[in-house]
């Protein structure tokens, strides 16, 4: 039994090995200093043990040289750890442009996941290996945290805003998915599995499991029409609201004079709290949709608005997923 105790989690993403390398480095430094202190303490304790009650050792006041030495060396090592850690951190939270998006909604106590193609799953996440996967996450209630130890990846999932993280799986397999931020009664049961699959298997899975007939963007379009967004945001000569084509990623000029880049969170906020950031040239006409759409639906609306960029440029995964599925259905 003892022989198969693991002390390292599986290495299954591009980051995992890099994080482990830093772990080994800091472990090595720590073991060195720990042994140094322990050996010195033991050595002094034995060598200078009290042999007679009358011993009055000479006082030593200190040594500036030594103080400098044991300030500067830890400082250098500390800065090395900082630098190394910062580089990893930067990589972890700067997703590559290519790759696919997955939308995650956490709620007490489950993970709801949507693929751009329209597939939905609960407490399971299927991904292909070899493709960067960007997670766009939000919570319906309290704070959760999306944690996959085998990928050395963790990110808090907050209510009221989107957080993102990414990973690229390297090894097919089934891995733990944990909620790492305490969230109430069944926090420890807010767990699931990540299935990393060969790309062909993943395509198979998408098709096999595809109960949804619509991609996320298409479902978003449906909602868009149901909610009557088009009455104001239509492509017409004098629309009541600004055009949403090409909005995602563009700099929007606000009434206040500031500019802001329209990212997922901005679009979400525009739908829930339209008055919070008014676009220059428009009045506070748009009603709030708070309470009418839930977080999953919001993500679909966002996916739809993002897909409106595609008519001009054809690059993100939304399109690929959506179109592939369309073609697939047309067959």
């Amino acid at each position: 039994m003892l022989s198969n105790i693991q002390i390292l989690p599986e290495v299954a993403s591009t980051m995992a090995g890099k994080v482990d390398a830093l772990y080994f480095f800091i472990t090595a430094v720590s073991v060195f200093f720990f042994l140094l202190v322990m050996l010195l303490v033991t050595f002094f304790a034995i060598k200078f043990r009290r042999r007679s009650k009358d011993e009055r050792p000479e006082p030593i006041h200190g040594s500036l040289k030594l103080e400098l030495l044991w300030t500067v060396i830890p400082f250098i090592l500390g800065m090395a750890m900082f630098g190394w850690g910062a580089v990893l951190y930067f990589d972890m939270f700067t997703p590559p442009v290519e790759g696919m998006n997955i939308y995650v909604v956490g709620k007490q106590w489950m993970w709801k996941i949507q693929h751009p193609e329209g597939n939905r799953e609960i407490n399971e996440l299927h991904v292909p290996v070899g493709t960067p996967v960007k997670l766009i996450m939000t919570s319906e209630d309290v704070i959760h945290s999306f944690f996959v130890p085998a990928f050395r990846m963790k990110m808090d999932v907050l209510p009221g805003r989107y957080t993102t993280a990414w990973f690229e799986a390297t090894k097919p397999g089934k891995y733990h998915l944990f909620c790492a931020e305490y969230c109430g009664t069944k926090h420890s049961q807010m767990t699931g599995s990540v299935y990393a699959m060969e790309p062909v298997d993943y395509q198979d899975w998408l098709e096999r499991e595809s109960v949804a007939t619509l991609s996320m963007a298409q479902a978003g379009e449906q909602l868009y029409n149901q909610l009557g967004c088009g009455t104001c945001h239509a492509q017409e000569a004098e629309p009541r609201g600004p055009s949403l084509y090409g909005l995602h990623g563009r700099a929007v000029e606000l009434l206040t004079g500031n500019a802001i880049t329209a990212d997922d969170s901005y679009i979400r906020e525009s739908i829930l709290l339209p008055a919070a950031k008014l676009v220059a040239g428009y009045g506070p006409l748009m009603p709030t949709y708070k309470g009418q759409v839930n977080e999953e639906e919001l993500l679909r609306l966002v996916a739809y608005i993002k897909s409106l960029n595609l008519d001009t440029e054809d690059s993100t995964s939304e399109s690929r997923g959506g179109k592939e599925l369309k073609e697939h259905r047309n067959e």
Partner: protein, 543 residues
């Protein structure tokens, strides 16, 4: 004694602070800092036992992967109450309110703290806060974790969060009052000749601690009040559904609670300096560096709260600033460890119980501090944040470091406080049991944490079980180790040999007064003519 003029006229040995008055009232209305220290000692000991019982239940539950002993809700309440009680009602007051209260006036040659009545008040405030927390248990407990993260605490939890908030809020004032008292006392009441750089490092450490208490505690008090307002009156501060920001809470909370971890460890560091000097018969190596490192820790401690939030969506730049400052704060801690080690060089080292605890402290605190580096390194923290790795880290520091220091203090000054000697053999045995039990409990948690076991989990995957079995086994040993002192120390009160004024042949004004000290500490205020820890001038053994 050569250095002071106080010692010549000892009061009658039985005219001490224990015998200065009898009856409950003489205790509950006392303004004597020594009696207040005893009141604190009794109260925090009760809290330690309660917090320990919660821990026992937690460890038993975790023996198996399934949640079979208690329900999830109960489990969540157990770890919340364990953390709350241990941090706010045991560790934060432990050394300052008991040892600091008792010793600071005597160490600086004063007859009491600057504000004796405020000192008594702070104990009552603490007691009321404590009772409120008992009431929380009666009202069904609380399940937010000691960190109270919003919006869970402010909106979603169905437990007695409001009452708990009131309890912690009240208790905070007791810290503030104690801190205030210490700062003023240390500034104003030092005996003639006792310059800042002649102060024992124990006093320096408490000075730094008091500054943190004064500056930090109001922030957490306000934060908790805000949670209370949101929860009870629906004022939108933290819950996005009410237009608030949940991460704001984390900033405010850690602005206090990171420095609060130093409230817990700095006093312990002060103890280690005293004990290591005494049992090495040496001046502390690099006295000035050890003193200033306490202040450096207190100051830097206020700038690194964000290292608890590397995965909460703060910007990469903010993460980098907090990470670099975190690495810096590790340096003064390292400097202290090196100086203590160097103090032993060419010393005359003996191995009485307090020194055994110092050895324990050095080993465990070093592990705790070094693992802080793992957590401060951004990319690595992302993986281990909120796992058992963090649990192991802070237990190595708070239990391995701070409680070892507390036990060292208790054993070092017990003869002074009570006038009785305890059994060295039992005391050493229990120190060793505690050391072994501690490591067996918490070392496996580093491993299982790196494997990915999240903290605050009631049920967990099977492959982690072996680590939890080791940990629970260790906790059983640890519990036995902690039970021992309760017996032999209490035994010593009744059957122990009378302690001489200076049983360890130690330096410092507290050893110049009889054990236990007289009601007003000194008949004549001593005049200090030498530096701290001047062991080369130690007169002949008295025994």
């Amino acid at each position: 004694m050569s250095n002071t003029v106080a010692v010549a006229s000892h009061p009658e040995p039985d005219n001490n602070y224990w015998t200065a008055g009898y009856g409950l009232k003489s205790w509950l209305l006392t303004t004597d800092h020594k009696r207040i220290a005893i009141l604190y000692l009794i109260m925090i000991s009760v809290f330690f036992v309660i917090g320990g019982l919660f821990a026992v239940l937690i460890r038993l539950e975790l023996l198996t992967p399934a949640g079979d002993l208690v329900s999830s809700d109960t489990y969540n309440k157990l770890f919340t109450l364990h953390g709350l009680v241990m941090i706010f009602f045991f560790l934060i007051p432990s050394i300052p309110a008991v040892m600091g209260n008792f010793l600071i006036p005597i160490m600086i040659g004063a007859r009491d703290l600057a504000f004796p009545r405020i000192n008594l008040l702070s104990w009552y405030v603490f007691a009321i806060g404590g009772m409120t927390t008992f009431a929380v248990v009666l009202f069904g407990g609380v399940d937010t974790g000691w960190t109270f993260y919003t919006p869970y605490s402010s909106t979603y939890s169905k437990t007695a969060v409001g009452l708990t908030a009131i309890g912690v809020f009240i208790t905070g004032f007791s810290s503030i009052l104690t801190g205030l008292n210490f700062v003023v006392t240390i500034h104003k009441m030092r005996a003639p000749g006792l310059t800042w750089f002649r102060l024992p490092l124990f006093v320096w450490a408490h000075y730094a601690t008091s500054l943190i208490m004064l500056i930090g505690t109001p922030v957490v008090a306000i934060t908790i009040l805000l949670v209370f307002l949101e929860r009870v009156f629906g004022v939108g501060i933290f819950d996005p559904a009410l237009g608030g920001d949940p991460v704001l809470f984390q900033h405010l909370f850690w602005f206090y609670s990171h420095p609060a971890v130093y409230i817990m460890i700095l006093p312990s560091m002060g103890v280690i300096s005293e004990v290591v000097a005494c049992f090495s018969r040496k001046r502390i190596f690099g006295y000035g560096f050890v003193a200033f490192s306490s202040l450096a820790i207190a100051v830097l401690g206020f700038l690194i709260w964000g290292h608890h939030m590397f995965t909460s969506g703060q910007s990469i730049l903010a993460g980098m600033v907090f990470s670099i400052l975190t690495m810096l704060v590790a340096i003064p801690s390292a400097v202290k460890v090196f100086n203590w080690t160097a103090t032993m060089y060419k010393g005359s080292i003996s191995f009485e119980t307090p020194m055994i605890y110092v050895f324990g402290f050095l080993g465990l605190f070093t592990v705790g501090g070094l693992t802080g580096l793992f957590l401060g390194a951004l990319g690595l923290d992302v993986h281990v944040h909120d796992t058992y790795f963090v649990v192991a880290h802070f237990h190595y520091i708070m239990v391995g470091g701070a409680i070892m220091g507390y036990l060292a203090a208790l054993h070092f000054w017990w003869p002074k406080i009570t006038g009785k000697l305890y059994s060295e053999a039992w005391a050493k045995l229990s120190a060793i049991i505690i050391f072994i039990g501690f490591n067996l409990t918490f070392f496996p948690q580093f491993l299982v944490g790196y494997l990915g076991m999240p903290r605050r989990y009631h049920v967990y995957p099977d492959e982690f079980q072996i680590f939890h079995i080791l940990s629970t086994a260790g906790a059983s040993i640890l519990a036995i180790g902690y039970a021992f002192p309760a017996f032999y120390l209490i035994w010593s009160l009744f059957r122990g040999e009378a302690a001489p004024a200076n049983p360890w042949n130690a330096k410092g004004l507290e050893w110049t007064v009889p054990s236990p000290p007289p009601k007003h500490n000194f008949d004549t205020i001593p005049v200090v003519k030498e530096e701290a820890y001047d062991y080369s001038r130690l007169e002949e053994e008295v025994v």
